[in-house]
């Protein structure tokens, strides 16, 4: 019954933390802002919202779209249900933000975790980035071993597929290296090679816990 997906829950709480929204709008943001990696359908979203309300993390408000000036006064024409984060919900989200288990850097989770780095403390950001990197390096090692073993036996297409796959992983590792370097230097990654201008994240809560990164991933 409990349609708690982990990642969907996390994303919903995170988006509602910024501002209240109704389901339809929430879904659009889910599939654009964060949606390069994942797409959710209503069949997932609405049940999830329901359970989050039951948990006490969200509150429902009959309402109109918040940027609709017309409907402020005389409308009892409820149709949209606007969800907002409760105090408990905020607490819950921050608890999730602080988690740095292996889950945080698996393929499915990493993207959405990164998307909310603006809300994440620096040491957690570091742990997640480094965890992700060592996860990928592990994977690279396996791929290299596998390619060494089977080099001769595979046809050109399979080989090309593996080569391209490895290159993709290597590319992500380089990306992570740049990000980690930026975090370390304390600058926000605005200078790395040649991307357009970026604004620093605004409300990043800086907790100065200099914990050594938990390197033993797996």
């Amino acid at each position: 019954m409990s349609r708690r997906s982990g990642i969907l829950e996390f994303a919903v709480l995170g988006l509602l933390r910024e501002s209240p929204m109704h389901g339809y709008e929430l879904r659009k943001r889910l599939n654009t802002s964060l949606g390069v990696f994942r797409a959710f359908s209503y069949g997932s979203l609405y049940p999830c919202l329901k359970t989050l309300v039951q948990q006490g993390w969200l509150a429902e408000e009959p309402g109109r779209s918040p940027d609709d000036p017309r409907a402020t006064a005389l409308s009892n024409r409820r149709a949209k249900i606007v969800y907002r984060l409760t105090a408990d919900g905020k607490e819950r989200f921050e608890e999730l933000l602080g988690q740095t288990g292996p889950d945080a850097w698996e393929d499915e989770h990493f993207g959405v975790r990164f998307a909310f780095f603006g809300q994440t403390s620096r040491d957690v950001r570091m742990r997640v980035l480094e965890g992700r990197r060592s996860r990928l390096e592990e994977r690279l090692a396996k791929m290299r071993a596998s390619m060494a073993r089977t080099r001769e036996k595979l046809d050109a297409y399979t080989l090309e597929l593996q080569r391209h796959g490895m290159e993709s992983v290597e590319r992500e590792v380089r990306w992570l290296n740049e990000l980690i370097e930026s975090e370390r230097e304390g600058r926000d990654h605005r200078d790395p090679p040649h991307h357009g201008d970026q604004r620093p994240p605004d409300g990043a809560p800086e907790r100065p816990r200099p914990g050594p990164p938990d390197d033993t991933t797996t």
Copy 2:
């Protein structure tokens, strides 16, 4: 009931087409040769094998590992179950190979389709590659539109995430361009118009001529 996964079924038929195998070995090949993209567990594989046998596409043989010289004679010590492709199974696989619906170039399917390009006729290869490319270009267009709309409102991390995502897609498009170009140039004269006879797995398959002029890696 029917644990037919589409992609798992396809991969199993394709691997067994090359040589008979038992489940355990099959799973390893699934997760190395093709496994950059997907990993399957026994809980998926064995039920799938069962239904493929029921369909008449696979046949079970009590057997030993085919490269174990000791056990050739006196062993009734069955433990492994070696699966081989039946005639119907071959037909089925070739039917699947020929399909060029939109399914063939979605994220999940494309990898495994590509892995068996060595068995695929040229025109189908072309359609799959071009289908994949236009799918990605579609996605790029959406991402660009979305970024144009929301540029100002997002924090640096979200933006960086989107930028990296877009770059990944662009990179895959360039890869596809090279592959399509190679296919176009490398017209092999020995191209069978419709399926029927396939080369033995040892015979040199056509080379995709990946031609990597950029060696940004290694």
